[in-house]
Amino acid sequence: MSSDHQKNGKSTCGQVSRRSFLRQGTSVAAGLAAFTAALKPLADLKPEDLPSVDEFLQKHYKEMSSDEMSQALKRISDKVEKRFEIRPDIKDIKAKDGVEFVYALNLTRCIGCRKCVHACVAENNQSREPEIQYIRVLEMPKGTLDLEQGNHHYDKPQVPSQDHFYMPVQCHQCANPPCVKVCPVEATWTEPDGITVIDYDWCIGCRYCEAACPYWARRFNFSEPKLPKKDLNPNMSYLSNRPREKGVMEKCHFCLHRTREGRMPACLEVCPVGARKFGNVLDPESEVSQILKNKRVFVLKEDVGTLPRFFYYFDEQHPRLKGDQQL
């Protein structure tokens, strides 16, 4: 078609026979019909699936004035109320000066009960179907730290098993985070208190951060998160546990809506053996400072240079005890 047209230049223009008009008309109509048919799945879109004008124009977290933030918070509250029939208590809690949060996990104590995994899900409004979990507990054979030998899906009537130790992994809140580096739109960044956060309203869902993370700490909402109304935790903040939407990234944020107000993370509170320690490393008297000073701590994959704020340690034992109770 186009070639004839081009070759003959102007001569064909203006001379349209009835037959060619009908033929072309029919094919244009058929084409349009096919195109409309192809777009048909879009009819299933619910109005709330598409961003409203205000949501579309909402600025990046760091660019919002306090007025704009309160408007955004109100918008989010309305949306949550509409969906869950509960008015949430949502705030934008800022980092405090002189605070840098650090986590320390005692591998000698951890028994692999996964209570932290479920407490985290309950606290942070993750999707339940499919369930998104921020913490992955590895069952490691004693004598190695080779993660490939870990069992991710151990399912035993009783833990701990004699020949294993248990290693929970979650976001390490790195001081040199590869995920922040790669994000094309600065939707994820490290806060002054050391927590790497995500603006769920800014993320475009490219999943580059997920590919970059050496600790497999990030989770993506491949479908619309499903959270039953009764399971909603109404205490939420903008940068942490407010309900997420389809197509965005999320991950552990050290429960910043709790920890920035002086409470402990949910995973720590639930731990039955006290394996989890959390606090401000800039305070020399804090428990974590003491642990970093006195225990033999290590970080996972030190060679990738991420400088995690998540430390592991084993309790030292008296040589005499070694016989009957191993690490």
């Binding site: 081009q6 048909k40 580059y208 970059a212 479908s223």
Partner: protein, 383 residues
């Protein structure tokens, strides 16, 4: 073209489903978070640079056979880049927030922002060069060298940059040892310089057969030489990589082992990669045999190589980097039907675009030959 349009529409339909339901319509998971979309994107970035393999001999070494074929290479580049951009868009979880790119562009830190710049820049350069040359041919004017030669040279370096930047996208991730290797970028270039011209060899013959356009056989043979060298280098680099990984035999070899032999009983990629390597080796042997100078043999080699490199770049470069995960878990990836339809749709749309370009360009270039004496294309048509 009707078939291509139909497949494009089927792909559009599949994409609409994905848009409504989310990326759960694909086979991707938190474990393997990039799949067919990014794999095809990577392969097509390679194809896009095929143009440069025609441009270098023409403008740098003044090779006359390839001279007027350059424009077909650059049109291919345009179509390939359009496909690349479509694949990246299809991969986004929130395409409705695309404008965030313009508002907070994490440049120069994020390699993805570099990729956005170089790909769009390359698209603009090629559109300019093709558009200008075709426009001049249409107006029966001599193209002014000032308006395109500098751009041609920029495009040569730019083509290298789209590869390099796309390779750097993967190479810079310390948490993925499979990608974290300096050889990825050169291997990527070498395989692109084989697959791209191979695709052109096939396309040019189709153009020569179905249009009035005369494609000199010598030009195809020049392309064949380029392909042979590029494929040889590609295979050499592959051997280098395999040696480093397997002789060292550190824990970093896990992904490579999974790719080539399977790991802990999981081996979905094994048949693919061996057919890829097999096809490439077969193509290389054909190209080196002395009695295979005839076009049918070259065509067989080209087809084998395009498929081989597509497997190598797609299945062999993107997916295994995610298996095992950084925490040692092995979750395999299998594209879903919907995802495959989206891919086919984008491919069909790209090829449709290319056919339209060619169908416009060929008559324009042909139509002017008897009139303008100074036009650069003159000597090849004036026979």
């Amino acid at each position: 073209m009707l078939v291509l349009s139909l497949i494009s529409l089927v792909g559009l339909n599949a994409y609409c489903k994905q848009f409504v339901q989310g990326l759960s319509t694909t086979g991707m998971t938190d474990q393997v978070s990039w799949g067919m979309y990014i794999a095809n994107f990577t392969f097509l970035v390679g194809m896009a640079a095929a143009a440069v393999m025609l441009v270098i001999p023409v403008y740098v070494y003044k090779n006359k056979e390839l001279h007027d074929l350059v424009i077909f290479g650059e049109l291919l580049a345009v179509a390939a880049i359009v496909m690349c951009l479509l694949f990246v868009t299809a991969d986004l979880g929130r395409p409705d927030r695309f404008h965030h790119m313009l508002l907070r562009f994490n440049f120069p830190i994020s390699m993805l922002t570099w990729d956005v710049l170089v790909l769009n820049g390359y698209l603009a350069l090629n559109l300019h060069i093709c558009g200008y040359l075709v426009y001049c041919a249409y107006k029966k004017e001599t193209p002014s060298k000032k308006f395109y030669i500098p751009f041609v040279f920029i495009a040569i370096f730019w083509a290298l940059s789209i590869h390099t930047v796309t390779a750097f996208l993967y190479v810079g991730l310390g948490g993925r040892p499979f990608w974290n290797s300096a050889i990825i970028a050169p291997r990527f270039l070498a395989s692109a310089f084989a697959a791209g011209p191979a695709f052109l060899v096939l396309t040019l013959q189709i153009i020569g057969k179905y249009t009035m356009y005369n494609v000199p056989r010598k030009a195809l043979l020049t392309l064949k030489n380029i392909i042979t060298v590029a494929l040889t280098i590609n295979m050499f680099l592959l051997i280098c990589e395999l040696f480093t990984e397997f002789y060292t035999d550190s824990t970093h070899v896990a992904s490579m082992k999974y790719l080539l032999f399977g790991l802990h009983g999981k081996h979905a990629l094994v048949p693919w990669i061996w057919s890829g390597i097999g096809l490439n080796t077969f193509a290389l042997i054909i190209l080196y045999l002395p009695f295979t100078k005839s076009l049918p043999f070259i065509n067989v080699a080209c087809v084998c190589m395009i498929i081989g490199i597509w497997i190598e770049k797609g299945m062999g470069l993107i997916v295994p980097a995610f298996i095992p995960t950084p925490l040692g878990e092995i979750v395999e990836y299998l594209p879903t039907l919907n995802e495959t339809l989206v891919c086919l749709g984008i491919w069909a749309f790209g090829l449709l675009l290319y056919s339209i370009f060619v169908r416009i360009t060929v008559p324009v270039l042909n139509g002017r030959l008897t009139i303008d004496k100074d036009f650069i294309y003159k000597e090849y048509y004036h026979d």
